[in-house]
Amino acid sequence: MPLTTSTVLICAGGACISSGEASVKEALKKEIRKYGLDEVVRVVETGCMGACSLGPIIVIYPDGVFYQKLTPRAAEKIVQEHLLKGRIVQEYLYKMPTGEVVPEAMDKLPFFAKQVKIATRNVGYIDPSNIEEYIARDGYFALNKVLTQMSPEQVIEEIKRSGLRGRGGAGFPTGLKWELTRKAKGDRKYIVCNADEGDPGAFMDRSILEGDPHTVLEAMVIAGYAIGAHQGYIYVRAEYPLAIERLQIAIAQAKEFGFLGENILGSEFGFDIEIRIGAGAFVCGEETALIASIEGKRGQPRVKPPYPAQSGVWGCPTVINNVETFACVPPIIIKGADWFRSIGTPTSPGTKVFALAGKITNTGLVEVPMGITIKELLYEIGGGSSTGKKIKAVQTGGPSGGCIPSEYFDTPVDYESLQKLGAIMGSGGMIVMDEDDCMVDVARFFLEFTVDESCGKCTPCREGTRQMLKILEKITSGEGSEKDLIELETLGNIIKDTSLCGLGQTAPNPVLSTLRYYRHEYEAHVREKRCPALRCKALVRYVIDPSKCVGCTACARVCPVNAISGELRKVHTIDNDVCVRCGSCIEVCRFGAISKVSP
C-alpha cells in the first residue's frame, strides 16, 4: 500500500502545456520535496480536463479543490497552504463571471456539473500512463465480459441496440458497420482507429488518446473479436506526439498484462495493434484516403462503393471508427445498451464531446448528453459571450460545417436537428461568433482552409472551391455584385453533388449556410459596399470625431504609415487612402475619438 494521502492532478493537455504547465509542475514538485511531502503527495499528469481557458489547472484530491490560472509562484503557495496546512488558497479558485468564488469541489463547478461523461469518463482523472488506474475504473472488464460471456454476434447486437453512431462526422450506426464487416467475405479483417482529427479547433480525440489511451485499445480488441479481426491500426497524426507516446506506453502495458497479443485474458482470441503516423493532411481523415495512407500509398480518397466494410486495408473488410466512438464502447458493454439509450435522444443516444472555441467564456472540451439545446451548451456550460457583445452565431462541424444563427439556439443538438439547419455535428467543433464577426469573412476563412486541403483529385473540389473563394474575396473587397451571390449558390450546389469525397461534398456548407441565414450581410457587401460587422478591411474607414479629439497626437505618433495629420492641440484627421487599417490608433486614443465606419 503506497502511503499517499493527497494526489495532485495536473492537466497536461495541449492548452495547459502552452500556458505553462511544465513550470508549474516543476515548482509543485520542488516545493513538495522541500517540505518533505514527497512521500505522501503524488503529482499525476493527466489529459485535458476540459477547462482549457483556465489553464494551467490542478485538482487536489481528496478535497477535489480546483485551482486555475496557476503560476510557479501560485504552485508554491498552494503547497505551503493547502498541502501543508490544509487551508484552501482562495485566490486561485474559480470565479464566476459575476465575481463569486465557486464552491471548491470540482464537480460542483457549473462548467462540470451539467456534463455527462462517457467517452471522457477517465480523462483528467486517471494517470494515463498507469494501466492499473484504468483497471481500477473497470478498464478491461468489458473485454473480459465479451471474451467470456458473449458471442461476437451478441457483441454486435448490443452495440446495435445501443444506437451508438459514429462520432467522427457522418454519424453512421456503429453496430451496423460492425455487422456488415463481420458478414463481408474475407479471411483477414482489420480494425482501424481514425485518430487523424483534422478539424481545426477540435481536439477531443487527442484528449482521449492523451488522457485515457487504454479505452481505445480495449474497444479495438472488442471490435476485433466482434468482426473476427486480429490486427488493428491506429492512424494518428504526427502533430500529436504526446498522444503517440501515451499510446505506445499503453500498448506495451496492455501486452504485458495480456490484453493484447495471443490468448487475450487466457482465451483463444488474439489481437494486435500498431500505430501508423500520418503526415497531417486534412483529407487523410477521410476513410478511403486514410486506408490508402496506411497501405503506404498517397492519402487520396477513392470512389465509394466499395465501402471499407467490403474492401478496406489491403482490400480486406475493415471497420474504421473514430476515437470517441471507440471510447463509448467499453461502458456500453459493461452497463448495457439500455443504459446508453437512456441518455441522449431516441435517434442520437449517448453523449457528444464538443470543443468550444471563439468568443465564449469557457473555451475547452465538454461532454454533454445529445439533445441538450445550443443555448444550454453555450450559456450554462460555456458561460456565454466572452466579449460582452451578443453572440450572433455558432459554427458547428468544422470547415465543412455550417453556421447557426442565435434565433435557432433552442434547437437540440443531435445529428438530425443540426442537419435540418444546414449545419452538421461533424467531429464536434463549435466556434462562437459575436457581432464583431462578419459572416462573409467567416465563410471565406473556412473555404480558404478547404482550398488549401483539397487533394486535387477531382475537378469540382479542386477548381470549384477555388472559384468560390475568388468570388468571396471579391465580395469582401467591395467588388462583388448580386450576380456573384447567385453564382456562389449554383457553384456550391454543383460541388456538393459532383465531388468525389466528403471533403468536396461538404466544402460549400459554410458558404451556403451563411448565405441562407445572413444574406443581408452579403447584400450589404455587394449593394452598399458596406461591411456591417466592420470587419472587411476594404470596406471600412477610420475617422476621427472632431468634437472628441483634443489633439494629443498619440494616434499620429503610433500610425505606422503616417496617415494621420494634425497639430498639437488641434483636431487630427486620417487620410484613408494611406491608412492600412491596422487599428493601432483606436487603441491609443484615450478620448475615444477614433472609430471605424463602413462605408
Binding site: L3, T5, S6, Y61, P62, M106, R137, F141, T148, N263
Partner: protein
Amino acid sequence: MSKVKSIEELMKIKERALKELQLRDTGKRGKITVAMGTCGIAAGAKETLRAIVEALAENNINDVAVVQSGCMGLCEVEPTVEVRLEGQEPVVYGHVTPENAKRIVKLHIMANQIVSDLMVRKGEM
C-alpha cells in the same frame, strides 16, 4: 507482471488500484488530519500517518480521507491528529503513537466511540 488470465486476477488488480484512486473521491464520510509541522514530524507524525493509512487499508475503510496539515499549535502533545466525521464535532487527539493511531481507527472510525484518554480537544477551534 505476469499476464492476466481470469476475472479474479483482474479483480485483484482493480481492488489494489482502487484504493489509490478512491483517495481522489470527494464524497467522503470523514477526514483524519495529521499535523505534520516540524515538531510533529520530530515527535513521530510520519509513523503515525503511516499507521493510520495502514489501519484504514487493513480494515477496508475507503470513505475516510487522510490528509496532513501544518502545526496545530499543540507542540506539547504531538503527534496530534484530528478526526472529523460527517455531522459530528471534530475531535483532536494528542500523543498519537502508531499504536494509539490504530486504536483511534478501531474505536472512533469503526465503532464511532471517542477515545477519551487521548482526546485533547473537542469542537471547532
